[in-house]
Amino acid sequence: MREAVVKVKTTPEQILGTPEEHRADAIEKGKLPIVLAHEVHKWYGNFHVLRGVSLEVFKGEVVVIFGPSGSGKSTFIRTINRLEEYQKGKIIVDGTELSRDIRNIEKIRMETGMVFQQFNLFPHLTVLQNITLAPIQVRKWPKDKAEEVAMQLLKRVGIPDQANKFPGQLSGGQQQRVAIARALAMQPKIMLFDEPTSALDPEMIKEVLDVMVELAESGMTMLVVTHEMGFARAVADRMYFFDQGQIVESGPPEQIFTNPQEDRTKLFLSQILH
């Protein structure tokens, strides 16, 4: 098996070595990556799911991760906000190293929003309560402010009239848009999308992708696991191809689509693009 081919310019030491008062500024200006994964390994029992994944995302970038199922791409994106643990390597998010320290984990989770394949809305709360819960409880905003922000977000994702319904009363596409609004309500610096359209009926995929495209164009830093190649072609700055727990190839969309270097990438693309 060949070593991971993707070269990452930044080392963890470069970020952690920068004094804290300059770190945020350097990340803001794009000199340091806002997300850095360095040689991340993970095992499930004896199964080696992530085999030295290194990847960097700079502020404002839209990065798409794609690859066959079982390649570890979902597992990887879930290590970034510590929904999955990893056993070797380093992940640094917004200048904070992800460690076992619960304070670091909570800090990173506050700055990263996540959208899941299965939406995972809270079925016992209304749409509005789903969105305002975390801002009120975690950010300690007053209820009025949280509700005002929530209503603005619902307008942005196109469903302000559903605010007082329960998730079970909405269509899949509407639920996923609520999930996006819920993640945005915490005003995260990074948005993680874990196959956001895979559980949707075909006619609802577009309404969710439209919201994501609008979000990308507004300058949000996004890390997206998806098979929607149209979306990647339209907004991605960079794409990473995962296979068997490794990054096989990376590059801007034109290069990946028109001139892939690796055989495995070519094969996979030929299977999904007909």
């Binding site: 506050m110 819960l133 409880q137």
Partner: protein, 403 residues
């Protein structure tokens, strides 16, 4: 008749579902006499009911001597609680009526059923022929207080929310203080004088109110990642589940005093309460755990990803869903707890069943078992049925079973 092609229905056209209307005879025909074997079954059932009910009704209305219940009514209700202090129990009930009236106006403003319960039941009780005029006045007062609470709540629904919550929280301490007494305002009434329905209700209500949160804590403890907490919870639950309630009560009543130094005397009733609470908490924990296990991991992940900490995740996301899922099981346990309080009669407390035995032991009421036991069975049934009815309404209101 014209044949209408399906394409002729435009998408905008809304068709009402077919409605069925029955006359009484039509309903009977459809449900009871639709085929020859349904008819046969109906007739056989009616015959069996006739055979069983006829002697029962004849006994209840012509042979039974209900005098035993009427004469001892106060004993059945409050045991040997001093007659001149019974007004304190009424005050507690009136306070409950006020709270319930407020809750009705604020939480269920459109529920006519709640109103009917709160007003008609006390008025019906006031109309009973054999109760004392003091009780009659107090049942009317109960309805008045319920109405007053409703009036207050309807008049200022927003301003009354806080007082309502305060009343709910303070009700327990007030109840205990009222019934036990506070020197020097209210004379202390020793717990050995508490009895009858009063004691049964106290044991059940305190048992439910304390064992429920304790059970939740144990269930969370059993799922905890902290090894000591988890270990303790498992040991506790498995130990208690391996022991019958009677044994726990005997332990509490007879063994505990042997182990405690002689200066420390814990009251009988308190010991029985503690026994019931500790026993029921273990079962409660397993019921709640069943609810916790039904919550998909995605719910935890979504909460964590939003930055909620462990406590917030449990309190706002997991528990509300878990408890909602297990309402039927929990109410089942509440009902069985209510009925299991009769076991305290074995360790010498005079709850409703204990009073029944005491009444039957009096020479003038020898041989009146049927009247007495039918009467207390009726009381247990009314309360148990009320709980199960309330739980069904709650399930509908919370949409259990819909996702």
């Amino acid at each position: 008749m014209m044949n209408r092609e399906p394409e002729q229905y435009t998408t905008g056209e809304v068709l009402a579902p077919p409605t069925e209307r029955y006359t009484v005879l039509g309903w009977l025909k459809k449900n009871l006499f639709s085929t020859w074997y349904y008819t046969l079954l109906t007739l056989v059932t009616i015959y069996i009911l006739y055979i069983v009910l006829k002697p029962t009704l004849i006994w209840a209305f012509t042979q039974a001597q209900w005098q035993v219940v009427v004469v001892n009514l106060r004993l059945f209700m409050v045991g040997q609680y001093p007659a001149d202090q019974v007004f304190r129990i009424w005050i507690a009930l009136h306070l409950l009526a006020l709270t319930a009236g407020l809750a009705w106006a604020i939480w269920l403003p459109r529920s006519r059923r709640t109103g009917a319960f709160l007003l008609l039941i006390p008025l019906a009780l006031a109309a009973l022929p054999f109760i004392s005029s003091f009780s009659r006045i107090n049942w009317i007062l109960f309805a008045v207080f319920a109405l007053a609470g409703w009036g207050l709540g309807t008049w200022k629904p927003q301003a009354m929310r806080r007082p309502l919550l305060a009343l709910l929280l303070a009700y327990f301490p007030i109840l205990i203080l009222l019934i036990l007494g506070v020197q020097p305002i209210l004379k202390i009434v020793k717990t050995n004088l508490w009895g009858g329905l009063l004691l049964t209700m106290l044991l059940a209500v305190v048992g439910i109110a304390v064992s429920f949160p304790l059970g939740i804590l144990l269930a969370l403890g059993r799922k905890s990642e902290l090894p000591i907490v988890k270990f303790f919870s498992i040991i506790y639950i498995e130990f208690i589940r391996g022991v019958p309630l009677v044994t726990v009560l005997f332990m509490a009543e007879l063994m505990l005093p042997l182990f405690l130094p002689p200066q420390i005397v814990i009251d009988n009733v308190i010991r029985a309460m503690a026994g019931i609470i500790l026993f029921e908490a273990a079962y409660m924990a397993e019921n709640v755990r069943g609810g916790l296990q039904a919550i998909p991991t995605g719910q935890y992940e979504a909460a964590w990803a939003l930055g909620l900490n462990g406590f917030q995740t449990t309190f706002f996301i997991i528990l509300p869903q878990a408890l909602r899922n297990v309402i039927p099981v929990l109410v089942n346990q509440f009902i069985s707890l209510f009925k299991d309080t009769t076991l305290v009669a074995i360790v010498g407390l005079l709850d409703l069943l204990g009073i029944a035995s005491a009444v039957l032991a009096q020479p003038e009421f020898l041989g009146k078992q049927r009247e007495v036991y039918v009467f207390i069975a009726l009381i247990y049934w009314v309360f148990s049925y009320a709980m199960s009815y309330a739980s069904r309404r709650l399930e509908v209101a919370l949409g259990v079973g819909e996702r």
